[in-house]
Structures are given as structure tokens and as C-alpha cells.
Symmetry: C2
Subunit: 235 residues, 2 copies
Amino acid sequence: MVQNARSKKTSSSQRREESLSREQIIEASIELLDSSGEEGLTFRALSERLATGPGAIYWHIANKSDLLTAACDAIIARTMNAPLASVTSGTPPQTTIRLLALAMFDAIDAHPWVGSALTHALGKSPMVRIVEHIGQQVQALGVPKKEHWITVSALLNYILGVAGRNAANGQLARTQGLVRSDFLKAVSTVWSQLDPKEYPFARSLAAQMRAHDDRKDFLAGIDLILRGISSPRRT
Amino acid sequence: MVQNARSKKTSSSQRREESLSREQIIEASIELLDSSGEEGLTFRALSERLATGPGAIYWHIANKSDLLTAACDAIIARTMNAPLASVTSGTPPQTTIRLLALAMFDAIDAHPWVGSALTHALGKSPMVRIVEHIGQQVQALGVPKKEHWITVSALLNYILGVAGRNAANGQLARTQGLVRSDFLKAVSTVWSQLDPKEYPFARSLAAQMRAHDDRKDFLAGIDLILRGISSPRRT
DNA sequence: ACCTGAACACCGTTCAAGT
DNA sequence: ACCTGAACACCGTTCAAGT
């Protein structure tokens, strides 16, 4: 209360001007999520950052799930529009899909919480945006209309799988105070010590796991699926 | 307190015999998760079901995350072993992979919470089991050793993506009191009303979404990836 | 119309005290 | 060795009361 006493200064500096807006709340949520992860986003921390009470937020936002979806949507909207800047009408759809997928990967890498937020926003706007952008390229690829759903689903599920993994990796790494590469090294070490009778394959994979590059491997998976899409059915 | 008064009856019926065991706790957790979803698993509900206090559980289990992983592992262990019963040495690896993948789908369909539990148990035993079983088939497929990691990752990420989606679908459907098919119909209706200028593709997908069959489409995605695996690289 | 902040009904987890 | 259950430090959400 004391620090609010100097409110005579018309409308200059760090005091909130006019009223709280949905955009302000979402932007503050993103900052909070980026700096302290999913569990760092609480209505109390958020209202403190916005210099207001917990109840005030409920005037603009329905509930926490709504808040998370909105924050996620803000990131996805930026992510889906950015890579299209370098795309011309001559760009092959495969290239555009790779660009979109990589943009998703980088966004989730920068904001791990987006990964799990996406999972919980299935019919919602973030997902619609992604489906739209990827779908248009699948269409341009000449995939028959009947297979649109299955093809987009396959790409989307793969991307969501990676997203979820990255989100979990990020959170685990944060919890244990490790960088992600160190965390993977730790897992690799555990796997290399698995019982060779029971888990021969997982054990043999430990070395590749230690050396791998998340981003490159993600793209390799996209390429694998793209190959599957353009490969004839056998049935 | 009153209902425990008749404890003279030696050791016959519904009273706990001997002491609480980790297995009992995990089994009760699975029942709770199946009947009331992820948010239904609380230490209070669990301890009530086990006729004990919340603190007692901590003697056998480290924390909630440990509990969820253990419950998930119990389901995955059953899931990965069952389909192998019908596999002989002559079964082509593709067929076995399809069987394993379908077993995963069905398990997650029956226990939606497994989907999100898997995401949070990355280096842990449930994941090791899955990697081991799928990996052995990838190896049998003749995939070069250098590509083991990427190939298994692609399959796994796809499966995890579907798993996460199913988990979220199940939870949403539960929250809104809908069966899953009704929930998809509702989403499809929303999508069919999207702005055709902004979201032409997503809009055109609504019909396919309404008609689709989760399980069949899941398998179609696996087949698509399998085609990609056996299709030559272009580099 | 928008905000305040106390209050409600929960959580996971701990820990002295019991047996 | 194992269990009890009160207590702690949190949550999301609501709502009368304010401006």
C-alpha cells in the first residue's frame, strides 16, 4: 500500500495505466511460464506480478486452463506465421513442412510448457492453427483428399509426441537443476547399465542416445514420415 | 472408528491382513485412476480406500510422481507382454510392431491416464520396456544400426503423441460428461463453422474428423511410418 | 465495469507420536 | 518396522464488498 502512495504522477511509469487487459495477463503468464515452468504459473504469483489481487484475473479469464490455452495460442500464432516469410510460391511443400515443423520444435524448445499445453488444448485455437498450416502443405503435396485426415494426423501426432517429450525433459531438467544435454547423459548412463539379458536393445541404444542431437533427429523423423507419405501403398 | 470395533474376527474378511504393500497401493491407485481419472488420484482418496492414513503411503512410495510412474509401469508391463503370445519366429517384424502398437493403443484407451503418465516418465521403466520391445522388431526389420535411434524415436514419438491426445480427449470427455465419440462430434461441429477465409483446410477436414475411427487411423499412421522406414533415403 | 482480498475447499508432504 | 493423523504450506476459485 505504501509504495502505491506516489500516484500523483499522472500516468507515467510502472503503474498500470487504465485497466488490466487480457493481453497483459497473457503476456505476464508467458513470462512466468518461461522463467519458472508450468508449476510457476499460479494465480497468486501472477497477480503479484500484475500488482493486483487473484480475483481480478478472473474478470478477464475464465480459469487456469483458459489461461494456459491462451498463452499457448499466443506462442503458436507467432510460430506458425514466422517461417512463411521465407516461403515463395515456388517453394516445394516438403520444404515448407520442414520449416513449419522446425519452427514448432524451436518454439517448444524455447517454451517447454507449450508442449503440454498443446496436449490439453485439442479442439482449441492453437491446434486449429497448426492443422491449418500443415494441412495446406499436405494438400499442396497432392495427397488425395480422402487421406488428408490421416496424413495430417500422423504429422501432428509425431510433432505432439516430440513436444510432450521436450516439455517433460525440460521440466525434469529444471527440477534436477540440469541442462537438457546433461539430463540425457544421465539417462544414457542408466540405460547403459541395464541388464543385457532383459534389455539388450535399450542397452545398445545408450550410446546413440548420448550422442544424439534432438533437433536433427526430430527433422529426420519428419523426413521419414514424408517419405512414407510419398511412398505407394501396398494393400 | 466405530466400524473398526469388530476386529476380533481373527483375520478373515475385508480388513487388511499383515501390512500395506507397495503392490496393494499401486493396484488401488490404478482402480482410482480408472474410475475417476488423473485428478481422482489423491493421497486422501487413496488412503481412505486402503483404510489407512495419508502418511502411511509414504512409507512405501516416495511421492506422487513415483506412484504414477509405478502404476503406469504395471499397465505397460502387461501390455507389452500380452501380444507376444501370438507371435512365432516366422511372424514378420512389421506385423509384430503393429501388434505392439495396437496393444499400446488399446491399453491407453482403457486407461487414458497412462498417456500422460508416460510423458512424465521418460527415462523410467515404462519407457524402457516400450523401447526394448519395439526396438527388437526394428532391429529384426534390418534397419542399419546407425538408424536405430532415429527409427525407434519416430515410432515412439508418434505413439506418445496419440497417447497424449487420447489422454486429453478422455479427460475432456469426462469433464464435460460426454463419451469420446460425442466429444469428437462436438469438435467437428466447431471446426465446420470456422471462417473459410482464414481456416479453409481445417474447415474442410471437419467431415473426415466426424467420421473417423481413432483406432484404424492410429494403425494407418503406423503403416505410414513403416513405409517410410522401408523406403530408400534420397539425401 | 472493474477490482480487492478474505475465505473456502481442497492439495501433497512432513513428522512427532504411537504400536 | 510400520502406521496414525494433525499440521504445514500451498493451490484454484468464489464472492461480498468496495470504487
